[in-house]
Symmetry: C2
Subunit: 431 residues, 2 copies
């Protein structure tokens, strides 16, 4: 039976999961693939750490060249994350005509064009199923299965940490700090979770999803990003009262040749499937002109779901190598007619707005007057009774309005003497 040698860079959580599965599922993979996938070398900076799987010490090295310069190794699996030195390792692997499997969303979001160009030049492939949605096969589905669709929208719940916190707040009535604390205790939040909570991780994944869905790598700085750190328990409750759930969504929409990319806490209707995606689960909603609406749901992170995706990519490549030609995948970048990327000020949306105002006559008239001047029309308003300090939340839902007008209006409103905190505005998606 033919043998394909692979090298693993990064023997951490996911890396050790991959090693364990390759060991325990060697036979299953042999039966399905007709190939023996042979892990020849593992490179990591720390060779002493205890891991969930024991390997022959001769497999381990701290010298990356033992992988990158080994002509027998055909596939390099990069699982160290971050931009440097992952990028340099991948570029060198490609130059040495090795295929690459990576889970590195930050790197792809920032340097995809450079990496794929290097792969093209060397006629090798870069696969990255594990970069979005853990074990959910969203990359392959978008790239291969939905190949003939023109996509309209992608909505992703793609950050497990944020989703865990928002769902615990909603279900357990916890405030943000308490939910974050429990997330830490359960290992669902990293020590420094700001990439997750501020929406950056979701934005990385959105850039990848949008490339697959719309054929274009959008620079990260063109993605509008809002995290969940300002979502209060009150907002979650008020949204619930109006029939909505708040989720951190990564949104890509294509309309009239213009692409909108944003990450934001979003009110979505409670009956929508995405509202039922709780805890650390991820889900990606896609609408395409042929398939209609689809949702892909599963665990978005974790050792074994991610290892499953990595091994799916390894298997794809091993197959192609068995046949001695690198099996192509549909072009990622096919330049359909996207004229430009919209700025956040150019979008239109419905909004949920919470004002914190002194409870006195005439406040509501002033607020709605300013909104009216900016052509923002109100669909509902409710004043929540809160006794303390006589500052009361006033919650409004608007009809569709332009983001630019809304921002101008809120700037004026926040300068009113009776407004005592910065106003919170969240966008609403009907889906």
């Amino acid at each position: 039976m033919q043998r394909i040698d692979i090298g693993l860079v990064g023997f951490g959580t996911v890396g050790s999961g991959v090693v364990k599965v390759l060991k325990s599922r060697g036979n299953l993979l042999k039966k399905k693939l007709g190939i023996r996938i042979h892990l020849k070398k593992i490179c990591d900076t720390n060779l002493r750490r205890r891991r969930i799987v024991q390997v022959n010490p001769s497999l381990l090295t701290r010298d990356i060249r033992q992988i990158l310069d080994d002509p027998q190794i055909k596939i390099v699996v990069e699982l160290i994350g971050g931009i440097h030195p992952a990028k340099e390792f991948i570029i060198q692997a490609l130059r040495n005509k090795k295929h690459v499997v990576t889970a590195n969303k930050a790197l792809l979001a920032e340097c995809a064009e450079e990496i794929f160009e290097e792969a093209r030049r060397n006629n090798v492939r870069v696969y990255f199923e594990a970069s979005v949605g853990g074990g959910i096969p969203i990359i392959k589905s978008l790239r291969e299965s939905l190949i003939s669709n023109r996509l309209q929208k992608i909505y992703g719940i793609v950050n497990g940490t944020s989703n865990y916190i928002l769902s615990q707040m909603a279900q357990e009535n916890w405030d943000f700090r308490r939910a974050l604390k429990v997330a830490h205790q359960k290992g669902y939040a990293e020590k420094r979770p700001s990439l997750d909570l501020k929406g950056i991780d979701s934005a990385h994944k959105l850039v990848i999803l949008a490339a697959l869905g719309f054929g274009r790598w959008v620079p990260l700085e063109k993605v509008y990003i809002e995290g969940i750190t300002d979502v209060s328990l009150n907002d979650i409750r008020y949204a619930q009262e109006s029939g909505y759930t708040i989720k951190l969504l990564a949104i890509a929409k294509c309309e009239a040749g213009e692409l909108e990319l944003r990450v934001q806490p979003t009110l979505i209707p409670r009956e929508h499937l995405l509202s039922s995606v709780n805890g650390i689960y991820n889900a990606i909603y896609v609408s395409g002109d042929l398939v209609g609406e689809q949702v892909f749901y599963g665990e978005g992170a974790g050792r074994f779901p991610t290892a499953s995706a990595v091994i799916g990519d390894i298997a794809d490549l091993a197959y192609a190598l068995k046949q001695e030609v690198p099996s192509a995948k549909p072009q990622l970048v096919y330049r359909i007619n996207i004229r430009r990327i919209r700025k956040i000020e150019e979008i239109a949306s419905r909004y949920y707005i919470r004002f914190m105002a002194i409870d006195r006559p005439g406040v509501l008239a002033k607020i709605s007057g300013i909104l009216g001047q900016h052509k923002i029309s109100i669909s509902s308003v409710s004043q929540k009774e809160r006794k303390w300090a006589r500052i009361v939340p006033i919650v409004m839902m608007t009809h569709e309005a332009s983001e630019r007008s809304l921002r101008l209006a809120l700037r004026k409103i926040d300068r009113l003497e009776s407004i005592r905190r910065k106003t919170v505005a969240l966008r609403v998606e009907a889906l």
Copy 2:
């Protein structure tokens, strides 16, 4: 640019969708694939019918040999459905070294081993993404993406007609006949819908899903099949009162080397994602030991969703052909250790049971006595007040019990003088 010639057999609803998409998306596919997919011939028995797409009359033929015997045609797309003559056409296409794309679930469920053996002998492929779940990429996901997983369970809502009827009954409070009538009017039910309503169509799809998930083609007659024709509006309501939704599920479970396959109306917890799958939508829930729980959701039928899946398969094959070697897919049948297929009597389940009994003292004692003799323990019971004829429904939920015992018990109970209709029992899945 390289050109791949394909032949289409069956110019009906899905066939005309495929033709239309190939026409309108030719450029998109060229950009993504680097190949021109050229529809060379369309065979159908009726060439006069009006269709949604106009084609050059020279493309059309009623003579299947113009496709099967044309050496230029590399891919045959079979969309006529049914066993004969689809089977003969496919076998002949394979013998003539043509790859085959089909949406024919009945044929695969009944003759898969013969067809795949013929394909293997001729070193060509049979792809069938459109056979389950319309445009949902479940076949590719199970076969390729989840390749390293050992699956535990598959639950599929895979028949749009049945799901439409059950959800309309639940949401609109309609009885079965009325829901079926509306389904007919909307084109969601065929003129003779018994394949759908009796669960046969779901069973066909279950056989395919189980082959992908468990590596074995189970003969259709080993699948236990119950349709939705006996589900009453009352059962739906009583289930709702206990927090359950009734869905027609195609279930495959693997436990201790034994495989269970069944299609049945099933009570599932209302909070579960599958409970929110309404109307003509399909969803497939999969649990694998690495990925955990996943759900794939989308439109399970219809012209364009199905065409999208067919074209995904064509694109996969066209790629492989571009490289002049047929790209393999992981083995479907890999014979992991499944010792046997369980019979329905051997399973264990929780049950929802509705008795229709004369409202007189002692009935409940008799029923529960018989259940007790058969070691069936009751978790809840409620007697629904119904005045007419003094026949009242008694609804019970049981703890886990053996199907064999339950059947014996119900046979005895149905012979009681006070029981006036056949007792309805539905299985409950905790998911």
